[in-house]
Symmetry: C2
Subunit: 412 residues, 2 copies
C-alpha cells in the first residue's frame, strides 16, 4: 500500500547494545494485537525528545516532559519508555494525568526504579479514559520478553491503522568507532478512529551527554519529523525520542566536535527516512511529494509557503488526479501569508519542468511535460522566490478518495 | 444538491432602480453558456469593494482596485462592472493586466465613458491567457439586453461549477424610505478546473456617500464573506462589491446616523445569506456547519480557533460520516496557534449537547446524544474559551468523497 516503501525485513533491523525491547497483547482496544511496548535502557543511557505543540497535549506527553525536565535538572536517569496504542489518554484532564503516572509506577515496580524514571506514551482515541488496569496487567509479560533483537516487533506494537510497520537501521563508522542506529516510527496524520499521533523512537549505542542530546534531537527533528504533513492536523500526542544508550565506545560531549557532526548526520538521515516512511504510508497516499522553497529571505517564510502548498486540498487532489492544474500551486503560494511577496519574481518547477516564469506561465511550458511528471509516484515541487538564500523542504502526499473513506468510517 | 438551499425563483428577485444587467454567451470556454455579465449603473451610484488577500491576485482584481482608488481620490464615478467566467486571468503577468484593461476599454466604448470607470472581474482557470477577443465580441450583445429585471440571469452568468444560482432580495423600510436590495454570489472554494473564486455583488437603491460605503462593505464582508470557508484555499480572484445606485429616496452620509445602522443591518443580513449560499453549495457538501468560538480574549483568537476547526480535514470527514469523533475538534482547538490557551477551561457544545467540560469529556455526555446531532444537516459547534468576551462565527461544510471527485477530475 505505501508509496515506494517496502515492508522492513526483521533480520535487517540491527540490535542496539544497551536497549532491550518487550511487548504485550493487553487487549486495550482489540484482542490479539500487540498494544504495549516497553523499551528498557542500560545504565548510562541518555534520552531527549521533542513533543507536540498542540495545547491539548495528552497526559503522557505532559508526564514525559516533566520527567525529562527532572533529568535535565540533575535527577535520576530515564530507565525505560512505555508505549500503548488503542487510547491516546488526551482530553482526559486530571484523571488522565493520574492514569499516565499509574502506568509509570507499575512499570517502575517491575523494573525496580522510581516512577519518574519512566517515560509514558499513548496513541489512540481522544476523549476516552485510559484503560490503565489493562496496561498494568500487560506489563509483566512485556518485561518478561525483553530482548535486544525485538525491533520489528516494536515497530508492529506501535502501529495503529498504519498499513505496515516502519523501521530502519544504519551502521556508521565515526572516528574509528562503529555506531549502530535503529529506529521505528508510526503515523500517519491523525487516523481513524482518532488514532492520533506520529511517534518516532531512534536509539544508538554512542554515549552522548544530556545537553548535547537535547540539541541533537531538535536538530534532527527540524529536518525530518517537523518537515512532514499529511493533512495539517497536529496530534495531541506527537513525540520523537532520541536514545543514546552509551553501550558503545563512541563518546560525544560537545556539539562543536567532528564526532557530533558525523553522529548528527547519521541520526538526521535515519530520522528523515523514518519521517518519510510515515508520509509514504499516509492515509490513502498514492504519491510522495517533496516541496522545496528556495531563495527565500528566511527559512520561516520558505516553510510557510511549502506548508501552504502541502496543505492545500486543491493541490493535493490535483496530485491524486495526476492533473497538472498548476495554477493551484501559485494560488497556495499567494495565500501563504508572506505579505511583501513579489509574485512577479517567482519561478515554479515540477521536477525538471519549468512551469511558471516570473509569476506567469512559462511561454515554453507544455502541458504534456507537466502531465508526464504528475503521473509519477514521486514528484518534486520547487519554488524559487528570488528574495535571498534561505530554503526549506516539506514532504507530503496526495489527497485521495481513500483518505476520506479512512477518516469517515465510523469508529468500530 | 445544495444543503437546505432551494434554487431562487426569478420572480422573487426584485429589480433595483439604478442598475441594469445584461449578459452574453461569448464562448469563452464552452459554447451555449452565459459567460459575460455587464452591470450598468445610474449617475450618482457609488461602488465599494473588498478583494482577495492572495498575493497572486488576478489582473482584473488589480485593475478594479486601481479604478476604485481613482474614484476615492476624486476621479470619475464607476459606470459599469463586467464579469467573465471560464478564465481567471490570474498568474498572467503584464499581458494579463493589458487584457483586463482592454476589456474595460471595449465596454467603455460601448457605454461612452472612460475605461477607468469600468470594474472588471474574471473567474476560471489560472495560468492561461484571457481570450479577450471573445469577451470583446460578446459585449455588444450584453449591452443590447441591459435591463433591470435580469438578476436571475446575472446569478446564472457568474456560475462556474456551482450546482445552482445564488441570489436573494430584501425590501426594508428605513426612516420612512423603502430600500430594495438584491444580490448574487458564486462559489465555492476553488473549483474544478481551477474555477477559482468567490464573487458577490449586492446592489441597493439608497444613495450612500463613498467614504460611508467604503466602511459598510468592510463591515458587511467581515460578518459574511470573510466568515466562510470550504477548503481554506483563498482564490486569486475573490471579490465582494457593494453598489449604492442612489436611485431611491434614502440618503446616508454618515456612519453615525440611525439610517446607516439600519442599512448596515439589512446589507449584512443579505450578505450573510449570499455567503452561506456558497457554503451550502460547497463542493460535495452534505452538511452546513456553523462554528462559534466565544468568551475569547480577542476576536482574532476566536477566529483563529474557529478556522482551525473549520479547516481540519479530520473534523470535516467526521461530519461527513456523522461520526461524533469529537476529540478531533479538541485537537484542532489545541493546534490553532493560541499559545497561552488554558485547555482545562474549555467547554465544547454540539448544538445543545455539552460534549467537553473543563478540557475533558463531560461525565454526563452520551455518545448517542452526539450521534443524534451529527446526523443533522445543520450543526452548530460552540467553543467557550473562558478568557474574555470576544466571539467569532465561521461557516463551513463537510469533506466528502464528492469533494475529492470534483477536484480530482481532469480538466475537461
Amino acid at each position: 500500500m505505501a508509496v515506494n516503501s517496502p515492508i522492513p525485513v526483521a533480520a535487517d533491523l540491527k540490535p542496539v547494545a544497551g536497549i532491550e525491547i518487550g511487548y504485550a497483547e493487553a487487549g486495550i482496544k482489540k484482542p490479539n494485537r500487540k498494544d504495549v511496548l516497553v523499551m528498557k535502557l542500560a545504565d548510562g543511557a541518555t534520552v531527549a525528545g521533542v513533543f507536540t505543540l498542540n495545547r491539548f497535549c495528552a497526559a503522557p506527553v505532559q508526564v514525559s516532559k516533566d520527567n525529562l525536565a527532572a533529568v535535565q535538572a540533575g535527577g535520576k536517569a530515564i530507565r525505560a519508555l512505555v508505549v500503548n496504542t488503542g487510547n491516546a489518554n488526551a482530553g482526559t484532564g486530571e484523571e488522565g494525568l493520574a492514569r499516565a503516572q499509574a502506568t509509570c509506577a507499575a512499570l517502575a515496580a517491575e523494573l525496580g526504579c522510581a516512577p519518574q524514571q519512566i517515560l509514558p506514551f499513548s496513541t489512540g482515541v481522544i476523549l476516552e479514559p485510559l484503560p490503565v488496569e489493562k496496561i498494568k496487567a500487560g506489563l509483566p509479560a512485556a518485561v518478561a520478553n525483553l530482548k535486544q533483537d525485538n525491533w520489528f516487533n516494536a515497530a508492529e506494537a506501535i502501529m495503529t491503522t498504519d498499513t505496515q510497520p516502519k523501521a530502519g537501521s544504519r551502521t556508521v563508522d565515526i572516528a574509528g568507532h562503529t555506531v549502530t542506529l535503529t529506529g521505528i516510527s508510526k503515523g500517519a496524520g491523525m487516523i481513524k478512529p482518532n488514532m492520533a499521533t506520529m511517534l518516532g523512537y531512534l536509539a544508538f549505542d554512542a554515549k552522548v551527554a544530556q545537553p548535547v542530546l537535547d540539541v541533537l534531537v531538535k536538530q534532527a527533528a527540524d529536518q525530518s519529523f517537523n518537515c512532514i504533513t499529511i493533512d495539517g492536523d497536529t496530534s495531541t500526542n506527537d513525540s520523537f525520542m532520541l536514545i543514546a544508550t552509551g553501550a558503545g565506545t563512541l563518546e560525544v560531549n560537545s556539539v562543536d566536535s567532528p564526532e557530533y557532526k558525523a553522529l548528527a548526520a547519521a541520526v538526521t538521515e535515519l530520522s528523515v527516512f523514518l519521517a518519510q516512511s510515515i508520509i509514504r504510508d499516509g492515509e490513502g497516499a498514492t504519491k510522495f511529494i517533496s516541496i522545496t522553497v528556495e531563495d527565500g529571505a528566511s527559512m520561516e517564510e520558505c516553510r510557510k509557503i511549502a506548508y501552504s502548498i502541502a496543505h492545500s486540498p486543491l493541490v493535493k487532489t490535483a496530485f491524486f488526479a495526476s492533473d497538472p492544474n498548476l495554477g493551484r500551486i501559485l494560488a497556495a503560494i499567494g495565500y501563504a501569508g508572506v505579505d511583501d511577496l513579489d509574485v512577479s519574481k517567482i519561478n515554479l518547477y515540477l521536477d525538471d519542468v519549468w512551469v511558471a516564469k516570473n509569476g506567469g506561465r512559462n511561454p515554453d511550458y507544455k502541458e504534456e511535460d507537466g502531465q508526464r511528471v504528475m503521473k509519477q509516484s514521486e514528484i518534486t515541487v520547487r519554488v524559487k522566490l528570488a528574495r535571498g538564500t534561505a530554503a526549506s523542504t516539506v514532504y507530503t502526499c496526495d489527497l485521495s478518495h481513500d483518505y476520506v473513506s479512512i477518516n469517515a468510517d465510523y469508529r468500530s
